[in-house]
Amino acid sequence: MNVPRACDLGLIGCDACGKVLQARQHAEHCPRCDAPLRRRKPDSLVRSWALLLSAAILYVPANLLPIMHTVQLLNVEHSTILSGVVLLWKNGSWDLAIIVFVASIVVPLVKIVCLALLLLTAQSGSTWAPRERTQLYRVLEFIGHWSMLDVFVVALLMTLVHFGKFAQVEAGAGVVAFCAVVVLTMLASMSFDPRLIWDQQTDRDAARP
């Protein structure tokens, strides 16, 4: 089935309130909600790439630097995200170990790789599986903020284990890098416009004899 697209019909939908307008009549702002009217998110690919690359770079220190220092009776232990997962697993809470592993290691990595895939295919004008790529985008939007889990855990442990020399948890530099990765990947996926996946689609269809 061929469904008409707004850009071909001269229609424009307001991103904020969903109102449908004729593109020519209302040039700049939505008459109902005053949000700027745009066919596509501005500079979507460039912004998304910039944010994504920064996130990818910070992903390295986020995983290598310790996120926590545990001081217990003169014995200092540095833990990274991965060693925290291993510790949970060894203590027998394999269910939470899996949750933390997925939220802190798998989700950020999957987000970075998948968003790069979406950007590359949108940029090269690929016509491959547009429906699945749009669904992938929706999954990325949904899982984005769950990676904040480890940041909150560090903040909580720092506050709860605050017993001076006896036992003390301090935050490491890794947690700042990790927090930045989560925020940057969220911003990167917000800047990406999934309609770009479909723009190439119709261009190709039109070009076909």
Partner: protein
Amino acid sequence: MDTTALVICEHCDSVYRRMPLHHGQTACCTQCGAVLYSNRSLDLDAMLALAVAAMIVLLIANAYPLMQVELGGITRETTLWNIILITFDSKVGLIAVVSALSIFFFPLLQIALYLYVLLPLRLGHVPPAFAGAMHALRQMQPWSMVEVFVLGVLVSVVKLAGVATVSAETGLWGFGVLTLLITALGGFDLRELWDRAAELGE
């Protein structure tokens, strides 16, 4: 051309004509599978009830301690604000700012804005600065992370279980309930509130 009966898919730009739906039905885009609209009729009473309940629960969750930790005879109770302030005084102040925004300020503002928008609409008029409030609500939604925080509390309880005695307090239950209420509120489509306000404005 009358454009009021049209709906454009957010994710692929396809245009459809709105059709009346039966109860519980959802209209999805045939091209990309995104949800276009659902017949979940906009129930202002239900939304308002949820928003009022969420505000009360948020106050309780923040006023009472989240949990109690006991180690070597020392007992410590923690509220959300303890966590934010102690984290802020450490070397990683940025974490405190992000936590304060995503667990306290955004959820609080979100619920307050819902109340500000819903109450006048329920009484039959559009509040001043309606557009601004609605834009703020839409933009804040992805940054409000109460549900992630609740999971974070559970993880830290387990991490501490071997070292110290940890018990959950009123505040934690409050945050658990708040998660459910905010999720329920977020399930309503803000675009339908715009339509309702437009009807009232005419």
